[in-house]
Symmetry: C2
Subunit: 201 residues, 2 copies
């Protein structure tokens, strides 16, 4: 995978972001490109766009609640709608970016574990203690991580990552950017793959 990576933006509390995370290896295989995982905070993004969480929008909320599980089934991804939902993902994001600066592969392992914990096992990922418990089970250094997520430098890095995503135009989850071309939604994964393979149309 020598060409530029594809940026993969998501919120840890996004069902479609979770489904996309389960398809990440397929996307990498089919495009020959690595994904660069970039968790974001949809709450901050919605302040910029004036949008509301999907499930809070009349009509669209009903549709999306039905569609989460249906989309997961289509892609053969295990899914149990978590309760409570949605949840804050600042702690999860900080843990990710703390690790990402040192070892992106470990950060990705943590991200996969957090997604599965929330959307398959209905576990708490909204608190530092919830995130650290899951990190330990994924054989990551929980003690170091506990210190890191309180580190002002990590908080700054997380904030900057979200600001950079907004500057790049990210308004939803999942959101992919390949060679400057944006693709929003699980629905657009085939379009992303086709675009990257063909060089656009």
């Amino acid at each position: 995978m020598s060409a530029a990576p594809i940026d993969f933006y998501f919120d840890f509390s996004s069902p479609y972001g979770y489904v996309a995370s389960r398809l990440a290896a397929d996307i990498e295989r089919s495009t020959g490109r690595a994904l660069r995982w970039r968790p974001v905070l949809l709450g901050a993004i919605f302040k910029t766009t004036g949008q509301a969480p999907l499930t809070e929008v009349p009509l669209k909320g009903d549709y999306s609640r039905r569609d989460f599980a249906r989309t997961a089934r289509l892609h053969k991804v295990e899914y149990r709608h978590p309760d409570p939902f949605p949840v804050g993902t600042v702690a999860a994001c900080r843990a990710f970016y703390a690790l990402d600066a040192i070892d992106p592969q470990a950060a990705r392992r943590l991200a996969e574990a957090l997604f599965l914990a929330f959307f398959r096992d209905n576990r708490d990922i909204s608190t530092a203690s919830g995130v650290l418990a899951i990190a330990k089970e994924a054989h990551l250094d929980g003690e170091a991580l506990a210190r890191s997520i309180e580190d002002p430098a990590v908080k700054d890095r997380t904030r900057r990552a979200v600001e950079e995503a907004i500057a790049a135009g990210v308004f939803g989850s999942p959101y992919f950017i390949a060679d400057g071309e944006p693709f929003w939604g699980v629905d657009r994964i085939p379009m992303l793959e086709s675009w990257v393979r063909s060089g656009g149309w």
Copy 2:
């Protein structure tokens, strides 16, 4: 096509609704079901959902402007972004429902002509005179249509059609309902087709 038709909701000013209209015959072929064309007024729907036109949402607006033409190219549909955009489509809707009560095939012909006029030829479909000029070119009875769209019964029928769409959960364009199962967006046409052919999953 003996099974129940698939409801196909759209707004005449919706780029994705237009692209879906150009794929309508393909959908009918692939599912073995007729589409029942149901134009709606997104302005009225957005009052229910609290949403704004796509192009007015920060970040999402930029994405969608880029995506309209890209999506059209993907589906080999001619597309020129109209100016002004979006436009009101009450006159177009009334003309459609005036015809639909008498001859659904003629109403569909009008709908196809209106979509092409707006999204391929950048013509005015926002006024009664614009709609009637296009209807005449499509060999429809423009004089009868001119009287009909001022008919209070047709205005009522149009209002009811939009209310029924909202009651059915329609919040965007295109929106399909097959055997009670909803599918929103051009992106979801493959999912709609797969669902109908397989009986769901």
